[in-house]
Symmetry: C2
Subunit: 294 residues, 2 copies
DNA sequence: CGGGTCTTTGATTAGGTTCAATAAGAGTGG
DNA sequence: CCACTCTTATTGAACCTAATCAAAGACCCG
């Protein structure tokens, strides 16, 4: 039974016909495989002890910058886990405009939106060279029936995705442009941290346009907001390179002080003001105090 | 094996200790039960033939208007399916502001956001008297292992939720206030239609404030937009009562003509203009033609 | 080195929020 | 039953945030 699974997983993953919809040829020079334990670690879910089975192997596939992993409407059969690299997932509206939905990176699962209709609902594009792990969905659910923890892991990851989307909706519905950009930087910083990179200095892998689309803003607003954060000393910006100077202020920022009070000299005061502390309303100017909007 | 399941399902569902976190007492006067077939029908997923097992019964619970079904942080153990009635699910931010996430109604599943952290991430409130079906999660996944179709149904419904959230994000990120309200009305109309109610005349179960929160708008903007739709003849509005007059225009609306050109006489022209047809840009005034924003 | 993409910054506009006042219901108790 | 209150809805006016339009500089890659 066990060996059967392995064989089938391998043959399926290697079968080019399964992925005929992808416009880009799949790179296979890596020939890497991961076992279940590595998979669980990557997904940040507790790996059950019964799962240390070296026989279950999942294939890796490499994509180069700009290549599409899957397109909208393409028949769904596999989920993807990012082993390394950066991607974006996008929706395309009736006028061809892209709406960025997420920026999957190490440990993220994507492709889940294809389960319901049996076709991918979004498009995934590599923003850098990527190493992805293939999870043939049918095989995976079969496996879940023998390994209960695995099944629960799947529910858990899908639930996590849903919560993430909820947070996104909440952000788009309620926060100002500055707060959105600030939170975006914070979440990137945190992701880089637990990927083992520097949380204080990193390069954006996406354009201002893509960030804007993700945050429901224009690219100009994103650029201006980054410049403003730079001006008051919350971050340093140079093109794609971001340096985080005051994470706490970014984390709690709700609204920026008016530009009239902004200057390099006013930096420190501005940082204090930008922080959404529990300062009573009377303590600050009404137009930029941290009390949330109704 | 089978009878064991039934017993356990019943005893669990009846155990008040399981739901101690809910602030409102559960109403059990209904004493209704649904089998798997009814459940699948309700969820609009194909019921597998093997699932016609009258022995698996799921308990109903009634909630009155205003009662909370679950609150944020409450230990998660059951999913809910709406059998009848209307609810809202909300997130509460650090300042106590509500962000409406969804308006579950007949056939909708909610509570899924609790799977990941084992605690509900959102709060569910009844907007009318409701009849809900309880789905004890642990029991349900156990059942899924014997009934493969059921397991897949669960994945499918979760995937559908995710796609729904994606569409929401896309809407909040890209559409104008008018387009959001229009789409909201269209989706309500469609939901009422497949619940067997009139799709042309219905009562809103939520306040302008709740609609605004859901759509990322203020209650005033919602009110004004409804009034504007009424003015140009797309709908009729009287408090909570909505009459749909031009569904197709609502469906394709991107941006409203400027108020200067709005009048009861201009109604028909306005309806044509509001429709997001493939009319070339030159055909209309640049400020209100249906070409989407960059 | 040149063409294309990406980014920054400025000026202007407009869509949506905020503040405010009024009106319309719904529920309560005398 | 009506007065009273509280919530909900409508509408107006002023303001402001972010979009739009525009232009120039930076960067990248063939």
């Amino acid at each position: 039974m066990t060996s059967t699974h392995v064989t089938e997983l391998r043959s399926d993953a290697l079968n080019p016909a399964l992925h005929a919809g992808a416009d880009a040829g799949w790179q296979r020079q890596g020939k890497l495989w991961s076992n279940l334990k590595e998979l669980c670690d990557l997904l940040r879910i507790p790996a059950a002890p019964t799962v240390h089975d070296e026989e279950f192997l999942f294939q890796h596939v490499q994509f180069k910058t700009g290549q599409r992993v899957h397109t909208i409407g393409q028949p769904f059969d596999t989920l993807f886990i990012v082993h390394s690299g950066f991607l974006k997932t996008v929706l395309i509206d009736e006028f061809g405009n892209e709406q960025v939905l997420s920026f999957p990176m190490k440990g993220d699962l994507f492709g889940v939106d294809g389960i319901h209709t049996k076709r991918y609902a979004s498009e995934a594009v590599a923003l850098s060279n990527c190493d992805l792990i293939l999870l043939p969905f049918k095989k995976f659910t079969q496996l879940g029936r023998s390994y209960v923890e695995l099944e629960h892991a799947m529910y858990s990851v899908m639930s996590r995705e849903l919560v993430r989307e909820q947070a996104m909706v909440s952000m788009l519905g309620a926060l100002s442009a500055e707060a959105r950009v600030a939170r975006f930087l914070v979440s990137l910083s945190e992701r880089f941290a637990d990927m083992g990179y520097s949380s204080k200095l990193f390069n954006l892998r996406m354009t201002r346009h893509e960030i804007g689309s993700y945050l429901g803003l224009t690219l100009e607003t994103v650029s201006r907001t980054l410049s403003a954060f730079n001006e008051i000393g919350l971050i340093t910006v140079d093109q794609r390179s971001i340096g985080i100077k005051d994470l706490e202020a970014l984390r709690t920022l709700r609204r920026l002080p008016p530009s009239s009070s902004r200057s390099k000299a006013a930096g420190r005061r501005a940082r204090m003001a930008a922080a959404g502390t529990t300062t009573p309303p009377e303590a600050g100017g009404k137009d930029w105090n941290p009390i949330a909007a109704a």
